[in-house]
């Protein structure tokens, strides 16, 4: 039991360090990006007046606008695949594995790769996907293809394969937690009310773990939207999503356009999170 009441001076004092940090690390930089995205004039100076020209020019370019749609589509695709895959893995870990030692071992095997950086893990996919890569060699060894399949590397398919492997655990983690919290008695009560296992799952277990699914989906969505490293490493210079566009503008010194794309990314992420929060109230999960 906490003895610190809500909205008391002590509560605000305790929230202060985190608030300061978030302001410095998140709020101020975001405001700066927003500000730069409205800069007019030709020079890079604080005295620039604010205009809508940058946005107007961005939206006049069909390639750029199309990229927003493609990025959203890519995110939706990865969310769907990791959602189903992640739930299956979570169900296996939380429900099917009954021995704690086995569960811990499997969990560590899944988690340890996450100790390396996302960029390294993206690059690690190249030897798998290439024309002489592991996957092609395996396919040819099994006699499934005669010639190497070229669509793996430098393609959207390859990017998707890498992203699914990178982000499935983000979708699975919260579901494992939620599944472990569904009391077995609820399953039993439903069975005693004549519900066969499939119905027990769809009517009892799945609705109760839905918040975990949504949280996982938000995590995957945010990561795919922000992912430029995998796209750059696996897609080469043939593929680009919104994140890569930021990099492209930044490298060529077009800071204002980089800021515009940054704002677009932030906006779409914000919309995604708001939609998710409408489905499930994350703040009430602890109750």
């Amino acid at each position: 039991m906490s003895t610190i009441r809500e909205r008391s001076p002590a509560a605000y004092l305790l929230a202060l360090p985190a608030a300061l940090w978030m302001t410095a690390a998140v709020v101020v930089p975001s405001m700066l990006i927003l500000w730069v995205s409205f800069w007019g004039g030709r020079r890079f100076t604080w005295e620039n007046h604010l205009v809508l020209d940058n946005y107007a020019r961005f939206f006049r370019n069909e390639t750029y606008v199309g990229l927003i749609g493609e990025t959203a589509l890519q995110a939706a695709k990865i969310m769907a695949i990791t959602g189903v895959l992640g739930y299956c893995i979570a169900y296996f870990l939380a429900v099917m594995v009954t021995r704690n030692s086995v569960r811990l071992t499997l969990f560590l095997i899944l988690v340890i790769p996450f100790w390396t950086s996302a960029v390294i893990r993206s690059i690690a996919w190249i030897p798998f996907l290439g024309v002489n890569g592991v996957i092609n060699q395996a396919l040819m060894f099994l006699g499934l293809t005669d010639a190497p399949v070229e669509i793996f590397l430098y393609s959207r398919t390859g990017i998707s394969m890498a992203q699914v492997s990178l982000y499935t655990l983000l979708a699975a983690g919260p579901v494992v937690y939620m599944l472990r919290n569904v009391p077995n008695q609820l399953r039993e009560a439903a069975m005693c009310l004549k519900a066969p296992p499939i119905v027990v799952f769809w009517r009892i277990v799945f609705p109760l773990t839905l918040p975990g699914v949504i949280i996982g989906q938000v995590l995957v969505f945010l990561n795919v939207m922000a992912d430029f490293a995998t796209v750059a490493a696996i897609g080469g210079n043939k593929q680009a999503l919104l994140g890569n566009l930021v990099l492209l503008f930044y490298d060529s010194g077009q800071l204002r356009y980089a800021a515009v794309v940054g704002v677009m990314l932030m906006l779409s992420m914000l919309v995604g999170v708001v939609v998710a929060l409408r489905v499930v109230d994350i703040r009430r999960l602890g109750e």
């Binding site: 609820l186 005693c192 009310l193 066969p196």
Partner: protein, 369 residues
């Protein structure tokens, strides 16, 4: 029960010497039980005695290792829970947290593939009869313990199962609420004529509700019978010790005269009635018991006489209980109606006596049943 009777009215439930193991641990050992139409049966025993496992085996939530379970005359041992004509009420009610009360009370009917148009009115009807119609659109988290209990009962009974299994169904309620709920449940059971199998460790519950009480210990049934039979004639030392208000004597058999057995105990000779039981051999260890309300103060014509010092006087509802210490060190309990004048005071030595007919001989563990 003979064969023709069984054919005329099949038993609601018949358990035929079931056995359940968890690894090396025997959870249920050779348990047999018959429940005829509309009976209220209480499984009573300390925790870990196998009563809940027995109940869960009937529900199909535990797979039995041997024996058979018949519901309404048909073996269900190989059927999953959702194919058995039972309902179950769980200790903390197991309400579905994401469903409104109306939705979860109707869940069983949905599973029976009732058309939606008929489920709604039927749920309303049941909610009304349990006086919880005003809660229909609420979620379980906002309900009190007593309200949850009613919802759980409505949800379990709406499908009119053949048997309702109840696992400590009022154990999580406030003490003050239990008596009311017990009366209500008993009334519901009478009205519907559905068999109730009620698991509890509380003997007050078992004796006030059960048409039949089954006392279990160490995975076995120790004794089953009407509350009166178990209260007045406990058949094993465990039952006598577990049921409140019994004084148990242990000793060696000194002799048998007619239907009277004399036991040599550390507190002196105690005479007990054989009551149709086979007489144990002279020199054998045996236990007998006598209920606290059968002990009388002062010397009477009764055959059993002892004297002891009063150590404490306690009140149990309308009863006054004296705790006496015998010279042998054994404690005895004597119950008297609280309305009667007190017969002794703490610290005083008093004589007491009781009749042979009130002294019950037990079947000894490992001896003939």
């Amino acid at each position: 029960m003979n064969g023709t009777e069984a054919a005329a009215a099949p038993l609601d439930l018949e358990i035929r010497s079931i056995r359940k193991l968890y690894g090396d641990f025997v959870a249920v050992n050779d348990v047999s039980l018959s429940v005829s139409r509309g009976q209220f049966v209480c499984l009573l025993g300390p925790s870990g005695c196998g009563k809940t496992t027995t109940l869960r085996s009937v529900a199909g939530l535990e797979a039995i290792d041997s024996g058979d379970i018949l519901i309404a005359g048909k073996s269900v041992a190989d059927l999953p829970p959702w194919r058995r004509d039972i309902s179950m009420m769980f200790q903390d009610f197991a309400l579905f947290p994401h469903m409104t009360i109306a939705r979860q009370v109707g869940f069983g009917l949905e599973m029976l593939k009732w058309p939606k148009a008929r489920i709604g009115p039927r749920v309303q009807e049941v909610l009304q009869s349990f006086e919880i119609a005003h809660l229909a659109e609420r979620k379980p988290a906002t309900l009190s313990g007593g309200q949850r209990q009613r919802v759980a009962l409505a949800r379990a009974l709406i499908t009119s199962p053949r048997i309702l299994l109840l696992d400590e169904p009022i154990g999580s309620l406030d003490y003050s609420l239990r008596e009311t709920v017990m009366l209500e449940l008993k009334q519901v059971q009478r009205q519907l004529g559905i068999s109730f199998i009620w698991v509890t460790h509380d003997q007050n519950e078992a004796f006030s509700l059960g048409d039949r009480v089954v006392v279990m210990n160490h995975a076995r049934i120790e004794q089953q019978g009407t509350p009166d039979e178990i209260l007045s004639r406990p058949r094993t030392p465990f039952v006598a010790g577990f049921i409140q208000g019994n004084n148990v004597f242990e000793g060696t058999v000194e002799g048998v005269q007619g239907s009277t057995l004399t036991l040599n105990t550390k507190s002196g000779p105690v005479h007990a009635s054989l009551d149709g039981m086979p007489a144990p051999a002279v020199g054998q260890r045996a236990t007998v018991s006598v209920r606290a309300e059968h002990l009388k103060f002062g010397p009477t014509a009764a055959e059993n006489q002892l004297a002891g010092t009063c150590e404490a006087i306690e009140f149990f509802g309308s009863l006054r209980r004296y705790v006496l210490r015998l010279p042998s060190g054994q404690q005895l309990k004597i119950d008297q109606f609280g309305a009667e004048p007190a017969r002794t005071t703490v610290g005083a030595t008093t004589e007491l006596s009781w009749r042979v007919g009130d002294t019950v001989l037990h079947t000894q563990p490992g001896g003939p049943a």
